[in-house]
C-alpha cells in the first residue's frame, strides 16, 4: 500500500493535476459536489472529504446539462457536427464505495450491448477513479444492506482504492490504469496492506425478497400512504447517484443550435405528458410508485441488481422526509 500524509494531500493532488484533469469533492458555498481541483487551488471551493457529497459523481459521466451535437439549419440545408472528443484523461478523487456501485448501475444502462452510449463510454474509459472507503457512515446510510462492500470498492469502476487511517491516506491500485497513475506520482510512502476500522451502519435489512414481493403490490394501498406527502419536486432524483433519466433539448442561436442532454425527473408532470395531452402517470401516487418500483423491482427484472445503492441522499435531502428505507422495511415486513 502506498501512503500520503493527510497534510500533504494537496501536493499529491497537485502532482496528479499536472497530468490529468482532476475532479475532487468540494464544498462550494454550502453545496457539496465534484468539481475541478483548480477550484480548490484558486480558493473558490474547499476540499470536502468529511462525508459524501450532496450531488453525486454521476455528474462526471452524465452531467446535468451536456451538449450532444451541434447543428446548422439554413434554408433546406442541415449540417450536424458531433462534439469534440475529450482531450485529457481525468482523475476523480474520493468517490465513495456506494457511488462506485451506482456507476456500475449506470454502466448497465449506458454500456448496454445493443445501444452503447459513446459519450458516456468515452468518459468512463478516460476516467481514473480513486475510491475512498467510509469509516464513519451517516445515520441515513444503508449501502451495506444494498450489497455494497464497505471494505472494497466496486472493482469494475474503481482504479485505486483509498483508505483513511488517522492522519494518512493509503492507496491500493486496483486496475492497471490506477497502477500507472499511482506510479507517476513521486514522494509516496509505503506501508503494509491493511483495512481501516469501520463503524457499523445503523440501518440494516435484507432486501433480497423485495422484487418478488413488490411484483404483486402495484395496486397496494401502501402507495397512497407513502405518496401523499410527496411534493413531486425533483430533489430525490437529482441527488440520486443512479437516477439517469434525461431529456433532450434545444439551445438555438439563430441558424445554429445545440442539442442538449439534460437531467429529467420522473417526478415532473412533463416527463410523461404526451403531445395530445394524455398523461399516463397522473399524480403523486403513480410517480412515487414508478420511482420506487424502478429502483427496487423493474431494474432488478432487467439487470438482476437494485437501482438503489443505499447512499441515503434522498432520505437526507427529501424536503418532506419521504424515507425509502422505511418503505423497504415495511414491505419486507
Amino acid at each position: 500500500m502506498k501512503t500520503v500524509e493527510k497534510a500533504k494531500l494537496d501536493g499529491f493532488l497537485g502532482q496528479l493535476a499536472q497530468k490529468y484533469s482532476v475532479l475532487v469533492p468540494v464544498d462550494y458555498n454550502g453545496l457539496t459536489q465534484f468539481a475541478p481541483y483548480s477550484q480548490v487551488q484558486e480558493g473558490v471551493s474547499k476540499l470536502y472529504l468529511d462525508g459524501n457529497v450532496t450531488v453525486s459523481p454521476k455528474t462526471v459521466y452524465l452531467p446535468q446539462s451536456e451538449a450532444m451535437y451541434k447543428f446548422r439549419a439554413q434554408g433546406k440545408k442541415l449540417a450536424i457536427e458531433e462534439m469534440p472528443a475529450m482531450d485529457k484523461q481525468q482523475v476523480v478523487f474520493g468517490v465513495r464505495h456506494c457511488d462506485t456501485k451506482a456507476i456500475q448501475c449506470l454502466d448497465k444502462v449506458f454500456l448496454d450491448e445493443k445501444f452503447e452510449d459513446p459519450q458516456y463510454k468515452e468518459k468512463r474509459e478516460n476516467t481514473i477513479v480513486f475510491s475512498l472507503a467510509c469509516n464513519n457512515p451517516k445515520a441515513t446510510c444503508f449501502c451495506e444492506s444494498m450489497g455494497v462492500d464497505r471494505a472494497h470498492a466496486e472493482a469494475s469502476v474503481a482504479d485505486v482504492q483509498v483508505y483513511e487511517f488517522g492522519d494518512t491516506y493509503g492507496f491500493v491500485a486496483v486496475s492497471d490504469k490506477g497502477k500507472a497513475c499511482l506510479d507517476a506520482v513521486s514522494g509516496l510512502g509505503e506501508a503494509a496492506d491493511k483495512l481501516p476500522d469501520q463503524k457499523p451502519q445503523e440501518v440494516k435489512f435484507d432486501p433480497s425478497e423485495l422484487p418478488a414481493k413488490l411484483k404483486g403490490m402495484f395496486e397496494d394501498p401502501i402507495w397512497d400512504e407513502y405518496s401523499f406527502k410527496c411534493l413531486n419536486c425533483g430533489t430525490c432524483t437529482y441527488v440520486c447517484p443512479t437516477c439517469h433519466c434525461f431529456d433532450i433539448n434545444n439551445k438555438i442561436r439563430g441558424e445554429v443550435g445545440m442539442k442538449m442532454r439534460t437531467w429529467d425527473s420522473c417526478m415532473f408532470a412533463e416527463y410523461t405528458l404526451m403531445a395530445g395531452g394524455h398523461q399516463p402517470r397522473q399524480g403523486k401516487k403513480e410517480r412515487v410508485r414508478n420511482r420506487f418500483l424502478h429502483k427496487l423491482q423493474y431494474f432488478n427484472e432487467k439487470h438482476d441488481m437494485f437501482l438503489c445503492i443505499g447512499c441515503g441522499r434522498c432520505v437526507a435531502k427529501c424536503p418532506v422526509n419521504l424515507d425509502i428505507t422505511k418503505f423497504i422495511k415495511q414491505v419486507i415486513g
Binding site: 451541434k70 447543428f71 446548422r72 439554413q74 434554408g75 433546406k76 440545408k77 442541415l78 449540417a79 457536427e81 439551445k251 442561436r253 445554429v256 443550435g257 445545440m258
Partner: protein
Amino acid sequence: MSNNAVENFEPKILVFACNWCTYAGADLAGTSRLQYPPNVRVLRVPCSCRVNPQFVLRAFQRGIDGVLVAGCHPGDCHYTTGNYYTRRRFLLITRMMDYMGIDSRRFHTRWISGAEGPKFQQVVTEMINEVKAIGPNDKFRDDAKIEVKAVETNE
C-alpha cells in the same frame, strides 16, 4: 475590454412598443424623416402591459444591451388601465435589476403617444448614447457560443 472596443461598441436596443401609441409614434418619426441611430429593434405589443418582466430578462440574457418599454401616457391606455399595471410592474423590475447587479440605466419605460414622433426619436437617441457610455452588458448573460461550419445553400 479595451477602450477601443468600448468606443466602437454599437449597443443592441430592444423596444417594446405599444400598438396604439408608441408604434404609431415610431412610425411618425419615420414618416417625418427624423434621424436616429440604427441600433434599435422594435417589437410591437398590444399594450405595454403585455410586456412580461420575463421578456425583459430574456432579452438581457440573450445579448440585448438595453430595453425600452414604451406605452400610452397614464390615462390614455387603449384598454383603459393597462399602463398603470405596467408602471407598478416596472417600478419593481427596475429595482430588481439593480439588485441583480444589472445597471438599471439599461432599462427604461417611457410614455410616448402616437403624436410624439420627435419624443420617440429623442428617447431612443438618448438611450443609445447612454447605453453606449455604459458599455456592453456582461451580466446575467447566457454566453453559449455555438459554432458550426457554414453550409452551401442554393438560395
